[in-house]
Amino acid sequence: MAPILQLNRVKAFYGQSEVLHGIDVAVEEGGMTVLLGANGAGKTTTLRAICGMVRHEGEILFAGQQLERRSTEAIAGLGVAHVPEGRGTFIGLTVEENLRLGGYARPRQSSANIERMYGYFPILGERRRRQAGELSGGQQQMLAIARALMMTPRLLVLDEPSFGLAPLIVEDIFKIIDRIRREETVSVLLVEQNASLALEAADHAYLIETGYIVTSGTAKALANDPQIRRSYLGY
């Protein structure tokens, strides 16, 4: 099966500094790929390059289409839903308005999709008229994922969904991500610092260090790799 997302020799730049040094990443269609690495390794930069939010070179192919010179909003329109670092919630708007915004590019299915989201995340349904800024961290993460799903994307890109959340909530989130993978036809590219959870959930994994991909393989292989276990899994 051809990968739904393919990065070839991608470099990324902040100003004059090169921060990604020609990386190759692939996400299989229907699969979940995780990009692991420490702070500042370049995980978020990779996601931003995919969505056209940072200056980059190299080839980025999504379902056969080139993403390199497209604007962020055009890439979103093609079916790439990105849940950014920090959630990117519209805190001044209500929960339902946040969801409606996710459905901006798919107006006809919007209402039906919103109800489906309340099915996945009942707590959002309870708080639909509340300001998004009033939600707890875990609830905002659910809202961010729901907002992304409103776009009926082919690729879901998640930037550190576990960030700042209590372990129990993180487990819930990952259960939901798993359920979504099964019930919706969507591929997932996940960026995480929480290596053990991510490797459990994913099919494939890449390890990035200071802008270079240092290891790649199946998630199981990386989970059993003694180096990775020592550096990232703590045992």
């Binding site: 969505c51 939010m53 604007s71 962020t72 909003e73 979103a76 329109g77 839903a81 990105h82 950014p84 990117g88 919630t89 519209f90 805190i91 001044g92 708007l93 308005e97 409606r100 915004l101 996710g102 901006y104 590019a105 107006p107 907002r147 776009m151």
Partner: protein
Amino acid sequence: MHQLLQQIFSGLASGAIYASVALALVMIYRATDLVNFAQGEMAMFSTYIAWTLVNAGLPFWAAFVITLIVSFLGGMAIERVIIRPVENAPVLAAVIVTIALLLIFNSTAGWIYSYTVQDFPSPFPDRPLLGALITTRDLGVIVVTLIMLVLLFLFFRFTSTGLAMRAAAQNPESARLCGISVGLMLAIGWGLAAAIGATAGIMVAPVLFLDPNMMGGVLIYAFAGALLGGITSPVGAVVGGLIVGVTENLVGTYLIASQLKLTVAFALIILVLVFKPNGLFGTAIIRRV
């Protein structure tokens, strides 16, 4: 007492004008963190367009609608062509650009239409109502402004474009991730602001008489009203504009002759701001370290 009420009502009418322009200022400020100093001159120019159409024989309301459409498109064009190059530049550069626009519009209007003061027709006859408490003209101004505000509220609250514009103003990056073209939203914002300004200009021209410097004072009072209400709050803009209008009128009638009216009115506004530095309804500009 009767005179007091009269002055309050007539202050509400001029306040409605200030409120409209203040609302336009707040809309643009929320979207771009920029005060559009050219808002008044753009409105004046739109009013001249309406005047030209009326002189060419069009009925008033037809000229009004056409002017609104032209102003909307013009506002969008100005945002894309004039403002876009300095969108990512230091704020002062953008401020200078809006001041430049102010000068260009003012001077061009003077060149095309001369500085002779012109009459501008009002769709409302100037008759006293409610036992001479308020004139039909003033009431008409207030009603038109109210209708415009309600339409804007409905637009922003219930349409997807309105929602997208609010999102783009609050969090442009997240808006792009939802597939919203933030640039287009900005342009629409400027277009709406221009249309609002045009409405204000057309409403005020019968009273102030049309000349290129007509909106200078209006802009200053509108700016004060927007800040009094809180530069980030549309409701504040309207309330602030109305308060400024009434205050200006009362100060001019009861306190001091027209020479120092502006100074005293401003002193009062600033006094309020000393106690509420972010305006009556504004939220503090939150600084994250």
